[in-house]
């Protein structure tokens, strides 16, 4: 039995729900929109990660779950608690919903079962250069990076590397922008806050989704500097599954293991010289965008990994559940 959490209509969770149904994997669903009707107990009378979760009038022992897929949106933004047409201005209800989410997430922190992914393990991308050092330790090349609040240092960096991009240091999602002559003119604003600059790395983008013991590599072709925003520049994005060299696959698995992220989205770029640079690891990947374009069965792999401890196809699984 696995626990799936989030908003069921959100594509990444919807796809895992569909996959679990297709593969006869037993699951329970925590629908965040029903949080006020759910309950949880965390207790240590039996074992440190013991407890009960009560969903749709039914109780389940937490320590008996095989795995959990965490796809929770920020509970403060749920229509049931945020201001607006559906808001229920009830402090107690809001507190109950918040505490339920906090206890559930904290239980996952210490739970012995498989979790995709624990909140604390998802923290590495709070700092891109911090994560870059881990990426480097796992055997990948990373872009040459400078963080500074000194305009002259940045000007020298730009002169040296010719094409330079800048982006946020933290996990705040920012559009990657190239540093051009116009932006260099306002570089003195840097004094107030150090900023991250990187030497531009040319090549094709590859998104790798590691799911436990298997991975899916997707080549993304686009003229945009940041393909996620290609449509804003009226540019096309083309995706197709690709096979990575063995050593690159091995580095992806190392990274997933080191970061304790059995599910992660790794952003690579393959240069014209056939080198692979790693830019970032996304700990809560919106993999559905890639699955929709390529038909790679990432959702099925997630459901299988959580239930069986391996994402490999289970030839006998359907029969076993159908007969039980």
């Amino acid at each position: 039995m696995i626990l799936l959490t989030g908003i069921p209509s959100e594509p990444p969770l919807a796809m895992v729900l569909g996959a679990a149904d297709r593969e006869n994997i037993p699951y329970i669903l925590f629908n965040q929109r029903e949080a006020q009707h759910c309950d949880i107990v965390l207790e240590n009378t039996r074992q440190p990660d013991g407890g009960i979760i009560r969903l749709q009038e039914q109780e389940y022992r937490l320590e008996e779950l095989q795995g959990v897929y965490l796809r929770l949106m920020d509970h403060r933004h749920l229509p049931e608690v945020s201001s607006g047409r559906h808001a229920q201005v009830n402090k107690d209800k809001t507190n109950k919903i918040a505490v339920f989410h906090e206890l559930l997430t904290e239980w996952m922190e210490v739970a012995a079962c498989r979790v995709m992914n624990r909140a604390s393990d998802m923290g590495s991308n709070l700092s891109k250069p911090y994560q870059a050092q881990i990426i480097k330790n796992c055997g990948f090349k990373t872009p040459i990076t400078l963080i500074s609040n000194e305009p002259n240092t940045v000007r020298s960096f730009h002169r040296k590397y010719k094409r330079v991009i800048y982006k946020s240091i933290s996990s705040v999602r920012s559009i990657v922008v190239e540093l051009d002559a116009v932006k260099l003119m306002s570089i003195d604003k840097l004094r107030n806050l150090p900023t991250q600059f990187q030497a531009y790395v040319p090549g094709n983008d590859i998104r790798v989704h590691v799911v436990g013991d298997i991975l899916f590599a997707t080549e993304v072709k686009s003229e945009a500097v940041d393909y996620r925003y290609a449509n804003r520049e009226d540019l096309d994005v083309d995706m197709k599954p690709v096979q990575l060299p063995q050593e690159v696959e091995a580095a992806c698995y190392r990274l997933s293991k080191y970061l304790a992220l059995p599910l992660c989205g790794i952003d690579l770029r393959q240069t014209p010289e056939n080198e692979y640079f790693c830019f970032e690891v996304n700990p809560s990947p919106g993999y559905s965008y890639y699955q929709e374009h390529t038909r790679q069965d990432i959702a099925g792999a997630i459901a299988r990994y959580l239930e069986y401890g391996t994402a490999l196809t289970q030839p006998t699984a359907s029969k076993r559940h159908a007969s039980s």
């Binding site: 906090e102 709070l126 040459i144």
Partner: protein, 280 residues
């Protein structure tokens, strides 16, 4: 400069460690730098490439921090004060804080020598765990732990013989801030039911492998194991006596230390773990 202490300007523990170190070493080998000095540094230069990482920070008073010259860090940072963004839009202020936090985290992680206690995404200078997480980790490390039932619904999961404490979202239910709830609150609200208060409490301080405090020696190994699990060189554990058994009741990864034996133990730990490769 071999020993670097990073702290808020009012951190008395950091100041005691600094004073003790200065009394034993050349002043050029010891430095204390505040969070505000770092935020307002004249220049930051933090570089990471596939081949090397290098950081130099020029403070406004002329002092230069160079990673290669730092042998050990006593890290007491808690946050990134950004007073110069005080009047900025909330979103800009939050963005600036997150960016500075991300930079501090990366800088501390890039230190070649030991950082006590290492920065992590869960906190710059201390693990900011909840009471539940500390107690569960304590139990997993092999320590006897006070019994608990955290629940979102006090009435449905009522625990006879336990004391209910009101559970509020966020940091409110961490042990220092919790308070007894009155009977009328026991409707269906979140509470933590705890084993009734201990008759006596005792504090233990872990410094590296050393356990300072009055607790049964048979628990020493598990105390150190908990500190290791939390990646903390310095950790305070509080135990309570329940009938005949001592049990873990709370943990503080950012302890206030004033006892001279404990301060000297921290200083000795720093001296014994200073990187020999630090450039002079």
């Amino acid at each position: 400069m071999k020993h670097l202490i990073l702290a808020h300007q009012n951190d008395a523990t950091a100041m005691r460690v600094y004073t003790n170190l200065v009394a034993r070493h050349n002043t050029s080998e010891v430095s204390i730098v505040t969070d505000e000095e770092l935020v307002f540094a004249q220049s930051w230069r933090h570089e990471i490439t596939s081949g090397y990482k290098q950081t130099t920070i020029q403070l406004n008073n002329g002092r230069m921090l160079d990673n290669e010259k730092i042998g050990i860090v006593f890290n007491r940072l808690r946050g990134t004060p950004m007073p110069h963004f005080e009047h900025a839009k909330k979103s800009d202020r939050e963005y600036a804080q997150m960016e500075m936090y991300a930079l501090f985290l990366s800088w501390l992680f890039s230190m070649p020598g030991t950082v006590i206690n290492a920065a992590s995404p869960q906190g710059l200078g201390a693990r900011d765990y909840s009471l539940y997480k500390w107690l569960a980790l304590g139990s997993q490390a092999g320590l006897p732990v006070r019994e608990y039932h955290f629940t979102s619904n006090s009435r449905r999961y009522y625990q006879s013989g336990f004391e209910p404490w009101k559970l509020e979202s966020g940091h409110e239910y961490r042990i220092n801030n919790k308070y007894h709830c009155r009977p009328h609150i026991l409707s269906r609200q979140p509470v933590v039911y705890l084993e009734p208060d201990p008759v006596q409490t005792s504090r233990v301080l872990i410094i590296g492998d050393r356990v300072i405090g009055d607790i049964d020696k048979q628990h020493n190994g598990a105390c150190v194991a908990l500190a290791r699990r939390a990646n903390c060189e310095i950790l305070q554990l509080d135990f309570g006596l329940f009938e005949h058994d001592w049990k873990l009741i709370s943990v503080d990864a950012f302890p206030t230390v004033s006892d001279s034996v404990e301060i000297e133990a921290i200083v000795s730990f720093m001296e014994n773990n200073t990187s020999k490769d630090a450039l002079s």
